[in-house]
């Protein structure tokens, strides 16, 4: 793939392991600034692992990840939803305004401009007037919308989403895809792990197909081919307890 715009994230020979077995194996490539890329692959293909490594939360076994001058704090990251306690006693506004952490910090005042930005973000995700509801009263779709509102407030130039539409209904997914398209239009880089091929074909110009090893990376139509998908299925199944150590 030849990036037309400057890179925002360069992976060079990245290997991530779980008990010495590779979860991501010698992956190299570049995310261009402003790209809208889906990461696709079967369960256990290393997709979430790769995102965690990009966020600096996992040590690399091999290779480097170059964030091209950006700090990890410049990345907006939405992990898989199950990891949060949805009955924590916070209001919707509290959660959304966490997105302004880098401006407000520990002791900063929450300005009226910030509160207004939070209100606008809630309008954008279709939750106008939900500010003072407790997050425990939200459905999982509404909760995901609130997390997107927090991402909006974060104003990050690179946005990384890990299975953002799992257990989310069609209408919410559509609304959130529209927000993602908006981010793309503003020149932000968006990288999302997804499972729905149709969704990827319709909304994501580029795709990274991963099955521990890289299967394909480039324009979606040329990556999501039947031949590639069959290769992916074959590769994901093999887990050899006594596989020899990789020489590369």
């Amino acid at each position: 793939m030849k990036p037309v715009s400057p890179p925002v994230l360069v992976l060079d020979d990245v290997t991530l392991t779980y008990e010495a077995h590779p979860a991501v194996h010698h992956l190299s490539g570049t995310f261009a600034r402003g790209c809208l890329t889906a990461i696709v692959g079967p369960n256990g293909a290393g997709k979430s692992t790769l995102l965690k490594a990009i966020m600096g939360q996992l040590p690399l076994s091999h290779g480097t990840i170059d964030r091209c001058g950006l700090a990890i704090g410049d990345f907006g990251y939405l992990p898989q939803a199950a990891e949060l306690d949805r009955h924590f006693p916070l209001s919707v506004a509290d959660l959304v305004m966490l997105g302004a952490w880098r401006e407000v910090g520990v002791f900063g005042r929450v300005t009226s401009a910030c509160a207004e930005a939070a209100r606008q973000a809630l309008v954008a995700v279709g939750l106008e007037g939900f500010e003072f509801r407790s997050i425990g009263s939200l459905s999982s779709g509404q909760f995901q919308r609130v997390l997107f509102a927090r991402l909006i407030l974060q104003n990050a130039s690179v946005i990384i989403l890990d299975e953002p539409f799992t257990a989310i209904d069609a209408r919410t997914t559509e609304d959130l895809l529209r927000i993602i398209a908006g981010w793309h239009g503003e020149g932000r880089t968006v990288i999302a792990v997804l499972h729905d091929f149709d969704q990827v074909r319709h909304h994501f110009p580029e795709t990274l197909l991963l099955a521990r090893d890289l299967v394909g990376w480039g324009p979606t139509a040329s990556v999501l081919t039947e031949a590639n998908l069959q290769r992916t299925r074959a590769m994901a199944e093999k887990w050899d307890e006594s596989a020899p150590y990789c020489a590369a």
């Binding site: 939360q57 306690d85 966490l98 520990v106």
Partner: protein, 290 residues
């Protein structure tokens, strides 16, 4: 018996009852909010484990001071509790053991070690004092220590409230935005140990955590916002101290367990009468049209 004979004269007539009252109220004001945060972090059992971890440190302080001395034992307990908190945090990050498993291993070790150390030198009476506390024997310096810890706890909580709650709710987010969440987590563990040390003279190492967890459980049943929960927990903990002391005075019960059982009574009553409780289900449930 008149109101004054029941509620006033135990404190008006006896200095040790007054000191016990002030100590248990101060203890409740600090421990209640700490307990709410512990529970929300799903660390209820970790609090329990840390209270045991305080024991060998206190026992070493007991040996060095040659008797029951709150400063020596408190300092020992603080060091031991913090070491266990830090070590088990480290172990859960570097091995496959989860934090609760490593805490459990540490506290069983600590409990055995603590009992062994106390039994080396002290009598069974001393051991009982360390394990179950002697709130009626609190003297002025001990009272100042408990008061200072409660004051310090509330001030620190007020200062770091925002990052602490954010770290509690979404540690991954704090890591991603570079919010130094781990620093606030450690500060919080420090406050937990500090409050356990404060509770330890009054209620003993085994029961001081009761002043945290039972009021926190009550608070979760009644309040829906975090400040509301902290307030309810602090009030319930302080009230448990007051009522527990009065009951133990009149009935001749041991005061520490009576205080904790009073908190337990609040918990049972809350289970019955709170908005989502058992009694509420006996009434017909009404609902709105939209």
């Amino acid at each position: 018996m008149s109101f004054s004979a029941l509620f006033i004269s135990p404190f008006a007539d006896y200095g040790f009852m007054r000191r016990a009252l002030v100590a248990s109220i101060a203890l409740g004001l600090g421990s209640g909010p700490i307990g709410v945060l512990l529970m929300l972090r799903r660390m209820s059992l970790v609090g329990d484990a840390m209270s045991h971890a305080v024991l060998p440190g206190a026992a070493i302080g007991f040996l060095i001071a040659g008797g029951l001395s709150l400063p020596a034992m408190g300092l020992g307990g603080l060091v031991a509790g913090l070491s266990v908190a830090l070590l088990s945090g480290l172990i859960s990050r570097t091995t496959v053991l989860r934090e609760d498993a490593s805490f459990a291993s540490f506290y069983l070790t600590s409990l055995a070690l603590g009992v062994l150390i106390v039994s080396l030198r002290g009598s069974n009476i001393d051991l009982l004092h360390v394990l179950f506390g002697t709130i009626l024997a609190i003297d002025a310096p001990a009272l100042y220590l408990v008061g200072a810890i409660a004051t310090f706890t509330l001030i620190v909580l007020a200062i770091v409230y925002r990052p602490l709650v954010a770290e509690c709710f979404d540690p991954g987010f704090m890591r991603a935005v570079g919010g130094h969440g781990i620093f606030y987590h450690l500060l919080f563990l420090f406050l937990v140990v500090l409050n356990l040390v404060a509770g330890f003279q009054a209620l003993g190492t085994l029961m001081s955590v009761g002043m945290m967890m039972l009021p926190a459980a009550v608070a979760q049943l009644w309040a829906r916002t975090l400040p509301g929960m902290a307030l309810v927990a602090a009030v319930i903990a302080a009230l448990s101290g007051l009522i527990g002391l009065i009951v133990s005075f009149h009935l001749g019960f041991a005061s520490g367990p009576t205080i904790i059982l009073t908190a337990a009574c609040f918990y049972v009553l809350s289970l019955l009468f709170c908005p989502s409780g058992a009694m509420r289900r006996l009434l017909p449930l009404r609902h709105r049209t939209g």
